[in-house]
C-alpha cells in the first residue's frame, strides 16, 4: 500500500499549517463513539492535518499477554508486530471524532491495514505514538481515508514502527477517479480450520479498547446494519500472523486487505503459503466462497 494519491493530497503534516495535539494517553473510547453520533460531518471533502500524540505510553505485560492469549502469539520479550496499533487506536478514534472529517466514525469500514517495523519493540518500553490522516481518495463506494500511526521509543525521534489504516466512508462523494487498490495474492488450499467463538469480539474489545458496537453482540451489531457481530479486522490479521511458522522477522511488514466481514461465531479456513522473503495468507469462509482477509508478510 503506497502513500495515498488522492486529490486531497498527502505530505507531512508540518507542511500544511498543522497542529499537534497531545493527549495524556489512550482515551476511553465508549464516550468518543457516543459523541461521534452527535457530531455533524464537515461539508468540505477534506481531512484535517492535525497530529494527535501520546507520549510515554506502554504496552504493559498484562495487556500484551491478553493480546497473545486472544490471537495465539507466544508472550515474548518483544511486542508482537500488531500490538503498537493498539496503542495508536485510541488516538485514531480521538482524531476522527474531535477533528473535522467529512464522515462519522461509526459506520466506517476498515478496508486495509499494514504494520511495519525496523526493529522489535520491548514489552513495557515507554513509547511515543503519533497519529494523523495522510490522505483521502475516491473509492467506488465512497471515499477512503488513510491514517498513519508512527511509534518511536519515548524521547527519540526515530520512527521504528508504523501502521497504515485505511477506512472506507460509504456514500461520501469525492471528486476524481477511484484508484484501484493493489490486490494482495490470496493463496489457495485447504489450510487450517479456525473455530471462532461468539465472544471473540467482546474479548478483543476488552483488551484493545475498540468497543465499536458492531463487534460486541448480535443486537448491537444489528443496530448498525449487520446480521451478527463481526470479528475485529485487526484480530483476524493478528491471528493470521501468529499462525505463520516461527517468529516473524525482526524487521518486517505485514499488510492485509479486509474482504467480507467475519461474522461471529464462525468456522473459517486459514491458508498460509511461504514465499521468498515471507508469507502470503488468506482467511476464507469454510466453503471457500468468501474471502475475509488476504495478507502478506515481507522481511524488510
Amino acid at each position: 500500500m503506497g502513500r495515498s494519491t488522492g486529490r486531497a493530497g498527502t505530505g507531512p503534516a508540518s507542511s500544511q499549517a498543522a497542529g499537534v495535539r497531545t493527549v495524556d494517553g489512550p482515551p476511553p473510547l465508549a464516550p468518543l463513539y457516543a459523541r461521534s453520533l452527535l457530531r455533524r460531518p464537515r461539508r468540505a471533502v477534506d481531512f484535517p492535518r492535525t497530529t494527535v500524540r501520546a507520549q510515554g505510553v506502554r504496552a504493559d505485560v498484562e495487556r500484551v499477554a491478553a493480546f497473545c492469549r486472544a490471537t495465539g502469539f507466544p508472550v515474548r520479550d518483544v511486542l508482537p508486530l500488531p500490538v503498537p496499533h493498539l496503542l495508536g487506536f485510541g488516538l485514531q478514534v480521538d482524531l476522527l471524532v474531535r477533528e473535522p472529517f467529512p464522515f462519522r466514525l461509526l459506520g466506517l469500514v476498515h478496508v486495509r491495514q499494514s504494520f511495519e517495523q525496523s526493529a522489535p519493540l520491548p514489552v513495557d518500553a515507554p513509547l511515543d505514538v503519533f497519529v494523523r490522516a495522510v490522505g483521502m481518495r475516491a473509492h467506488q463506494r465512497g471515499a477512503t481515508v488513510e491514517l498513519l500511526t508512527e511509534v518511536s521509543r519515548a524521547g527519540t525521534a526515530q520512527v521504528v514502527w508504523s501502521g497504515r489504516s485505511r477506512y472506507l466512508a460509504r456514500g461520501v462523494r469525492m471528486p476524481g477517479t477511484p484508484v484501484a487498490e493493489e490486490r494482495l495474492p490470496a493463496p489457495e488450499g485447504e489450510g487450517t480450520l479456525w473455530r471462532v467463538p461468539a465472544d471473540t469480539g467482546r474479548e478483543y474489545a476488552a483488551l484493545s479498547g475498540d468497543v465499536n458496537p458492531i463487534h460486541l453482540s448480535r443486537p448491537t451489531a444489528r443496530l448498525l446494519g449487520f446480521r451478527r457481530a463481526l470479528a475485529h479486522g485487526v484480530w483476524t490479521a493478528s491471528r493470521s500472523l501468529a499462525a505463520l511458522g516461527g517468529p516473524a522477522p525482526a524487521a518486517a511488514r505485514f499488510e492485509v486487505a479486509f474482504g467480507a466481514p467475519l461474522l461471529l461465531p464462525s468456522t473459517v479456513r486459514h491458508v498460509a503459503r511461504q514465499v521468498p522473503g515471507g508469507w502470503e495468507t488468506a482467511v476464507r469462509s469454510r466453503d471457500g466462497s468468501r474471502v475475509h482477509l488476504t495478507g502478506r508478510l515481507t522481511r524488510r
Binding site: V61, E62, P74, V75, D77, G245, G246, P247
Partner: protein, 424 residues
C-alpha cells in the same frame, strides 16, 4: 564403547517468584522464551534437530504436546520432533539423560532438553465428581439417562480444585516431608541458614563476574533471578520464622529463607554428538557421561527427598569413582536441609553400611566444590526447569576450569531422585 553426548550450550529465562512478573504467561510461553534464546545464541534458526524433549510439572490437560507446540513457535525447522516428559523435579535432568542416550546410541545427532514451569499459571481442575457427571452426561443417549446424570449434581462440586503441593499417598507437603528428614538427621537451623547464605553469595558473585551472561536471556524486562538477595546475611536469615515442621517434637528449623518458594521459569540445554558440534562450529563445554535414578518408599518411612542418597553411590561405583574424584558437586537445593541431610547420610558409617550396603562411608563433599555458583535457594526452582539449569551450569563450570569431573544430584517428589556424571 559408545560415544558420549556433548553439552554444547544452555539457556534459561531469569527465574521469578510466582505471581510476580511472569504471572500472566504460561509454561509454554516460558519454554518458547528459553528456546528462542538458545536458537539465537547457537544459530539454530531453520535447523532440523534430532528432537526436543522437555516437560512441565504443573501441566494443563490441554498441553499434551507442550514441547512440540513450543517448538512450532520457534525458528527451529518445523520438522523437528518433540515429546514431553514428566518426572517431578527430576524432569529437566531426565530429559537430558534420555536425549544423551539417543545421541550415544547414534539415533540422533543433536537435540534440546529442558523444562518449564509456571506456578502462577497453575491448572485448576474440576471437582472429580462433577467431572464424572459431565462425562456421563456426554455419553447419555436418552432423556432419562441425562436426568440420572444431572441428578448427581451437588452445589459443592462447583468448587474448583487448585493443585495441592502435597504427596498423594502421605498427605504431607514437600516441606513437611523435608522437615521430618531434617529432624531425623538433626540438621541445625544455623547450618541451613549458612547454606542459604552461601547460595545467595555464590550466585551474586557469579552474576558479577558475568558467568551467567551466556546461560540466560532476559525475559519481560527481568535480567536476573528475582529471588536472589545479594545483601542477605545470617542475621536476616536467622530472624525468619520457621514454616515447616512446627508440629514435630524437635524445634522447627525450616524457614522461607532456607526453602525454595514457588517459581516461574524455563531452562533448556543443547546436546549433540561431537561431530555435529564440530560441523556447526559450536564448542563443546563437557560431556554427559552417565546417570542413575533411584526411588525410595517414602510412604512407609523413607525420607521423601532422599532418593539421591541411593542414586549417587550406585552411579559412582559403576564408574569406579569416589566423592574425592569430583571437582564440582551440584546438589539441588530444594531445601537447605535436604542438601545437608544428604551430605550427612554419606558421611554416616552406620547408614552407609546398613542402608547403602557400602563397606565404608561414601565420604564428605568438600564445601568449596559444592554448588560453587549458587543453586535453587538463590535462583528459585521452577520444578521442571531446574535440571537443565544445573546441567548447563555444571558444564560451563567444568569448561571454565579447563576440564574435570562433576556430579549432579536432584531430588524429586514421589520419593525419586536422579544423579548424573559430567566430564570435560
Amino acid at each position: 564403547m559408545t560415544r558420549r553426548a556433548a553439552i554444547v550450550a544452555g539457556n534459561r529465562t531469569p527465574f521469578v517468584r510466582a505471581g510476580r512478573r511472569y504471572a500472566q504467561v504460561s509454561a509454554q510461553d516460558l519454554l518458547v522464551a528459553a528456546l528462542d534464546g538458545l536458537v539465537a545464541r547457537c544459530g539454530l534458526a531453520g535447523e532440523r534437530l534430532g528432537e526436543v524433549v522437555a516437560g512441565a510439572v504443573l501441566k494443563h490437560s490441554r498441553d499434551l504436546n507442550l514441547t512440540r507446540e513450543a517448538v512450532l513457535s520457534t525458528a527451529l525447522d518445523a520438522a523437528t520432533p518433540a515429546y514431553d516428559v514428566q518426572q517431578a523435579c527430576a524432569t529437566g535432568l531426565e530429559t537430558a539423560v534420555l536425549l544423551a542416550n539417543k545421541i550415544a546410541l547414534g539415533q540422533v545427532e543433536s537435540g534440546i532438553a529442558g523444562g518449564a514451569d509456571s506456578a502462577s499459571d497453575a491448572p485448576i481442575a474440576l471437582d472429580d465428581r462433577l467431572r464424572r457427571v459431565l462425562l456421563d452426561l456426554s455419553r447419555a443417549r436418552t432423556p432419562a439417562a441425562r436426568l440420572a446424570a444431572l441428578s448427581r449434581l451437588r452445589p459443592g462440586q462447583l468448587r474448583p480444585v487448585p493443585p495441592r503441593n502435597a504427596e498423594p499417598r502421605t498427605g504431607l507437603s514437600m516441606g513437611e516431608h523435608a522437615a521430618r528428614t531434617a529432624a531425623a538427621w538433626e540438621v541445625s537451623r544455623q547450618a541451613q541458614d549458612e547454606l542459604a547464605l552461601a547460595s545467595h553469595r555464590n550466585l551474586a558473585a557469579a552474576y558479577e563476574r558475568g558467568f551467567l551472561d551466556d546461560l540466560l536471556t532476559p525475559y519481560l524486562g527481568v535480567r536476573r533471578d528475582d529471588l536472589l538477595r545479594p545483601d542477605t546475611s545470617l542475621e536476616k536469615l536467622a530472624a525468619l520464622p520457621p514454616v515447616f515442621g512446627r508440629d514435630l517434637e524437635q524445634p522447627a528449623t525450616m524457614t522461607a529463607g532456607n526453602s525454595t518458594p514457588l517459581t516461574d521459569g524455563a531452562a533448556v540445554v543443547l546436546l549433540a554428538s561431537d561431530e555435529w558440534a564440530a560441523q556447526h562450529r559450536l564448542p563443546v563445554l563437557a560431556h554427559l557421561v552417565d546417570a542413575e535414578t533411584a526411588a525410595v518408599d517414602h510412604v512407609h518411612g523413607e525420607g521423601l527427598l532422599t532418593a539421591p542418597v541411593w542414586a549417587v553411590p550406585r552411579l559412582l561405583q559403576r564408574n569406579g569413582l569416589t566423592l574425592d574424584d569430583l571437582d564440582v558437586v551440584e546438589v539441588h537445593e530444594a531445601f537447605a536441609s535436604t542438601v545437608l541431610a544428604t551430605l550427612a547420610a554419606w558421611e554416616d558409617e552406620e547408614f552407609c553400611r546398613d542402608r547403602l550396603g557400602l563397606e565404608k562411608p561414601l565420604g564428605s563433599v568438600d564445601r568449596a566444590r559444592l554448588n560453587p555458583v549458587g543453586s535453587s535457594l538463590a535462583t528459585g526452582h521452577p520444578f521442571a526447569a531446574t535440571g537443565a539449569r544445573i546441567l548447563a551450569t555444571t558444564a560451563k563450570l567444568l569448561a571454565e576450569r579447563g576440564g574435570g569431573r562433576a556430579l549432579i544430584s536432584i531430588c524429586a517428589a514421589g520419593g525419586q531422585g536422579i544423579a548424573a556424571l559430567v566430564e570435560a
